[in-house]
């Protein structure tokens, strides 16, 4: 790790309490510019909850989340997206009854300069045209353009995951959060996804923070890994360090390999 890396995301002593359950207990972590960082841990460890704290779905009970030095406290999920954090969901959340094209086009609207009157009366030609062109461009880059008129829910599972990532990219994020992108994929698909994640990181100049259970994927491309267990950070380090950490092996890797 070189010292003058630029910090993008930082969580400091974040606690998330649901009634009597401490889903996240004093979690601190960092993601730096251009990095691929993984968050791993057994089921129910609090990984998705951490994402929800970052994206404003939950407000942490205490602690601080900041993005590019800005404290995110009090920002709603849409504002956080606008600031440059995009995400995908563990259980795919597409706009199921809309087309592939519209799924991405909707995400393009957050930087549009129009209002309901100009949009209704079609005085926003230029904006609409720009959004459509950018959508077409992105779909082409992603190899999804041929499917643009398909209804999202009619796509096979793997393509739905791909579309969800494309839709997240459409918001032009700086930081992309992926919640188990390889869930339900076979080894070959997982390998393709592994290369794909590196490719989009380079192509769109992203920092990527991902939750993943597939250790092949995690170990291949993560620069750093954080390990969560029962809401607590039990280890952090490079893939090599994590693989040889006895506590991690005890809590996670040793137990159930492909949980």
């Amino acid at each position: 790790m070189n010292d003058n890396t630029q910090n993008v995301l930082s969580m400091q002593n974040v606690v998330m309490q649901f009634g009597g359950v401490r889903a996240i207990d004093n979690l601190s972590l960092d993601v730096n510019k251009g990095e691929i960082v993984a968050l791993i841990g057994p089921n129910g460890a609090g990984k998705t909850t951490a994402f929800n704290c970052i994206t404003g779905i939950y407000t942490p009970t205490s602690g601080m989340v900041s993005f590019n030095g800005k404290n995110l406290k009090g920002n709603s999920p849409d504002e956080i997206t606008r600031l440059g954090i995009a995400r995908t969901f563990q259980n795919i959340r597409l706009f199921s009854n809309l087309t592939v094209f519209d799924n991405v086009l909707i995400a393009k609207h957050l930087r549009a300069k129009d209002n309901v009157f100009t949009a209704t009366l079609r005085l926003n030609h230029a904006e609409e045209k720009r959004m459509r062109e950018e959508t077409a461009q992105l779909l082409k880059e992603q190899g999804l353009y041929e499917l643009k008129d398909e209804i999202a829910s009619s796509l096979p599972y793997g393509l739905q995951r791909h579309l969800e990532i494309a839709r997240a990219l459409a918001t032009q994020p700086e930081l992309l959060l992926l919640d188990e992108p390889a869930a339900g994929m076979n080894p070959q698909e997982t390998q393709e996804l592994t290369d794909f994640i590196v490719k989009i990181r380079d192509q769109y100049k992203l920092s990527i923070f991902m939750i993943e259970h597939h250790m092949d994927l995690v170990m291949q491309i993560s620069e750093r890994i954080y390990v969560l267990n029962f809401g607590k950070l039990i280890a952090q380090g490079t893939p090599d360090e994590i693989q040889s950490n006895p506590e991690v092996i005890e809590a996670y890797l040793g137990g159930s390999e492909d949980a």
Binding site: I57, R93, N97, A112
Partner: protein, 368 residues
């Protein structure tokens, strides 16, 4: 070349079909207008259908396209209707309308052109919706329905309240409202209102409404402000409900607070459900079917004699039983309504006649 030419040919065909349809509508309206004394019954059914079509589409905007289960339509119609009525009843006739408690001097002398009054009615409804929206739109589906229903009743109760007698004429209602002078007026008004709503639905904002309907959490993650988007849809819907209320006042020429009971909201809900939640053309077709159906079924309210014996069920009120049963059948067996979430299109019609069954099953797959 080949497919391109096909598309052009289809386009031309659709264009011609549309022109024929417009000509037919204008022709029928012209014919009815020319013979308005012999067809007054048909005209009144058609005019009422046009008014209901506007409010049904406005309800669909919120319920079908934004996914909010709102049942406040009758309340917003009441606001629009009263504003329109108060400002269009000819000044000279106001003394006889408000003969019990007199008229508030502030409004006594103000008479507005009908269009201005209709827009004002819509704006008042929209303004009230904006206020109601703050507490109510944060609620989830069923609670939202109950809350909006409650607010609609509160609006109605306020209108009937004696404190407002000099404005709303309390329980006596308002009469002498200038009506439509010909069938083209409600036609033009409803075409404009529905046209604007269709433009909205197909705009970038309409897409955001649909995103919220599909998945609120994903919509937020795409940078859509949930509350603002819901509020926008709710306010615009209420604006058009208000305008349609004004149109209803013009159609009925006399209104009172009972006109806008919950039953009116149910009627509109029925139209939306029968037409297809999420289909504008469905709502328009539904408005005509329900309004006309209601009249045709009137026959069940008449006593029926069969071989000198009176059939026991045929008596006033039976019609509504039949109507409710029909609604139940639709909801149970034909949940998507006539149109589902599809819109009328010539291609759809022609495809349907070419392969009546194939097309349908394919569509179902796409939606499943």
């Amino acid at each position: 070349m080949g497919p391109n030419r096909m598309i052009n040919k289809e386009k031309r065909r659709n264009c011609i079909c549309t022109l024929i349809l417009i000509a037919a509508v204008l022709g029928i309206c012209g014919f009815l207008e020319a013979n308005k004394y012999s067809y007054s019954y048909a005209i009144s059914i058609i005019e009422r259908s046009m008014v209901y079509a506007v409010v049904a589409v406005s309800m669909n905007l919120v319920n079908g396209f934004t996914g909010l289960f709102s049942l406040g339509q009758a309340g917003f119609m009441a606001l629009g209707a009263y504003v329109t009525a108060i400002f269009t009843i000819p000044v000279s006739q106001r003394a006889s309308v408000y003969y019990i408690s007199g008229i508030n001097p502030v409004i006594a002398g103000i008479q507005l052109p009908i269009i201005v009054a209709l827009i004002l009615g819509g704006l008042v409804a929209a303004g009230v919706a904006a206020l109601i929206g703050f507490p109510v739109l944060r609620l989830k589906s069923d609670y939202l329905a109950i809350a909006t229903l409650g607010f609609a009743e509160i609006i109605r109760a306020c209108i009937a309240a004696p404190q407002f007698d000099t404005i709303t004429n309390g329980s006596y209602g308002l009469k002498s409202i200038p009506g439509f002078t010909n069938i083209f007026q409600p036609l033009a008004l409803s075409v404009i209102c529905i046209g604007l709503m269709v433009l909205l639905i197909n705009s970038s904002y309409g897409r955001m409404f649909k995103a919220v309907r599909e998945d609120e959490i994903a919509a937020e993650a795409m940078g859509i402000n949930l509350f603002k988007t819901k509020e926008l849809s709710f306010v615009i819907s209420s604006f058009f409900a208000g305008v349609s209320g004004g149109m209803l006042a013009m159609f009925m020429r006399s209104i009172d607070s009972k006109t806008f009971q919950v039953a009116l909201t149910y009627d509109i809900l029925l139209i939306v459900v029968i037409g297809g939640i999420g289909s504008v053309t469905g709502s328009v077709i539904g408005a005509f079917i329900v309004t006309a159906g209601r009249e045709i079924l009137r026959f069940f309210d008449e006593p029926l004699m069969l071989g000198g014996v009176q059939v026991p069920l045929f008596r006033p009120g039976f019609r509504m039983v039949i109507f409710s049963i029909l609604l139940m059948i639709v909801v149970l067996f034909y949940r998507k309504g006539l149109m589902g979430t599809n819109e009328f299109s010539w291609n759809g019609i022609f495809d349907f006649f070419k392969h009546p069954f194939k097309k349908k099953s394919k569509k179902m797959e796409g939606k499943a």
